[in-house]
């Protein structure tokens, strides 16, 4: 045991371990959330959903899908801008993987506790926007181009509420480190949603829009744009966009949980108990939010493009700024 601990105190060995862990985690998270989405959607629509693969409940459906994608021909349209078309999925996935660095799974369980944690997470998450725009433009397809432009317009509009909603928690905690924010909530004795419910609401709406999920799925609206910027993608390149979406559902929910719902903390548990139960508590909270996202998908109709922009610019941004001012005033005065 001591040998292993000594081995992992070496920075390079630890880094290698972290890389292997996150490389396993992303497909796993994608599969679990993908399967949850299939089954829950089926339940909400009174269907059975996947049923045959793997025997019971069709649990192996996504593994079967993955194997199928491995055998799919990698088609690139003749008119496409090849280098840009090929590298677009890379940019989308880079943003996703890099987000995992700052998610605290327990008191000491974090890939790297950066002092600018939340700021880094918000900055790195916008790299995916470039990938989406690249995919839309390089496909040389009218639907892709429109989808890519819509996506760019939507992602930048909702990035602002996302960034500004976070500031309330940062003011309360007085730090941007993700572990620091959770510790501040433990010290305060309540999760920040109690005082930052406005911030939490704005964050979740903006996160839903950043994920381009229903009701904010104008960029890939099937009925008018086929599949938007994904129209020309097939096989594994297509799968990467989906993997990134599911992994981003996890990471954005994990950030929301860390900032507003107390992260890995539950009231009444001691420090040592948290060290062991932390990851389970965090993942349980994350899945509550992921469930809500899937629930929204079958509850709300799609927004029109101008309604979507109006919601962001006229409502969410002023509301988030007001939230910052009120929070800061209360923090300074009280």
């Amino acid at each position: 045991m001591d040998v292993i601990v000594d081995l992992f105190s070496n920075f390079w060995v630890a880094l290698l371990g972290k890389i292997l862990l996150v490389a396993l985690m992303i497909p796993l998270v994608g599969m679990v959330i993908g399967f949850a989405e299939m089954k829950l959607s089926a339940k909400m629509q009174n269907r059975v959903g996947p049923y045959f693969a793997g025997g019971r409940w069709g649990w192996a459906q996504l593994i079967a899908d993955g194997v199928k994608f491995f055998q799919k021909e990698d088609l690139i349209p003749a008119d496409a801008d090849r280098p840009v078309f090929k590298t677009a999925p890379i940019w989308v996935l880079v943003g996703t993987v890099a987000l995992f660095v700052v998610i605290p799974f327990g008191p000491d369980l974090i890939f790297r506790d950066l002092s600018v944690g939340i700021f880094y997470a918000l900055a790195i998450s916008s790299i995916s926007t470039i990938g989406v725009l690249m995919a839309g433009w390089s496909s040389a397809n009218k639907y892709s181009l429109m989808g890519g432009l819509r996506a760019a317009g939507q992602l930048i509009a909702y990035e602002l509420p996302l960034v500004l909603a976070v500031v309330g928690s940062v003011i309360l905690a007085g730090t941007m480190s993700m572990t620091g924010i959770v510790e501040a909530q433990i010290e305060a004795g309540y999760p920040y949603i109690v005082v930052q419910f406005v911030g939490f609401g704005i964050f979740m709406v903006a996160a839903l829009a950043e994920l381009t999920r229903i009701p904010f799925d104008m960029p890939i609206a099937e009925s008018e744009l086929v599949m938007g910027y994904l129209t020309e993608y097939s096989g594994f390149r297509f799968l990467f966009f989906f993997l990134a979406e599911f992994a981003n559902m996890f990471t954005l929910s994990a950030i929301a949980v860390t900032l507003f719902l107390g992260g890995y903390w539950l009231p009444g548990l001691s420090e040592t108990q948290l060290a062991y139960l932390g990851p389970i508590i965090l993942i349980a909270k994350v899945f509550v939010l992921v469930f809500a996202m899937i629930w929204f998908r079958w509850t709300f109709p799609r927004f029109r493009e101008d309604q979507l922009q109006t919601l962001a610019w006229k409502w969410l941004i002023p509301l988030a700024l007001a939230n910052i001012l009120v929070t800061a005033t209360l923090k300074v005065v009280l």
Partner: protein, 121 residues
């Protein structure tokens, strides 16, 4: 090695992992998948009919104004964060300064809305 440098290295490695993951998986898939592109398969998809004109057709980019607005507000967010950390230490002085800053920006947003930037016709 300093912790400062280690942080950068971790972030850099994770970002690189995203690219490596795509390349490795595509490499493995290239052994398994068939490669038989025909002209019909490589044609631009337009709901099954032959594509009309070039794919890069002219589009009215309504979003460039939003792009300009975004740049202004995103820079503003960068200024808010350092103050947010030290909000308590800076006290009333910092609070008044931030009120002025944010109200000035809100005025800009109100002007943009009044100008009809968000109106779609």
């Amino acid at each position: 090695m300093s912790p400062y440098f280690e942080s950068y290295l971790t972030v850099g490695t994770f970002a690189a992992l995203g690219a490596v993951l795509v390349m490795v998986m595509l490499g493995v898939a290239s052994v398994l998948r068939p490669t038989n592109p025909t002209a019909a398969k490589r044609a631009t998809y337009e709901c099954g009919v032959d594509p009309v004109g070039s794919g890069w057709s002219q589009t009215y980019v309504r979003y460039y104004v939003f792009g300009l607005l975004f740049v202004i507000f995103d820079v503003e967010a960068v200024f808010i964060f350092p103050w947010a950390i030290a909000a308590e230490e800076l006290g009333v002085f910092g609070l008044v300064a931030m009120f002025l800053f944010i109200l000035t920006l809100l005025e800009g947003l109100a002007y943009a809305i009044k100008k009809g930037v968000l109106r779609w016709e």
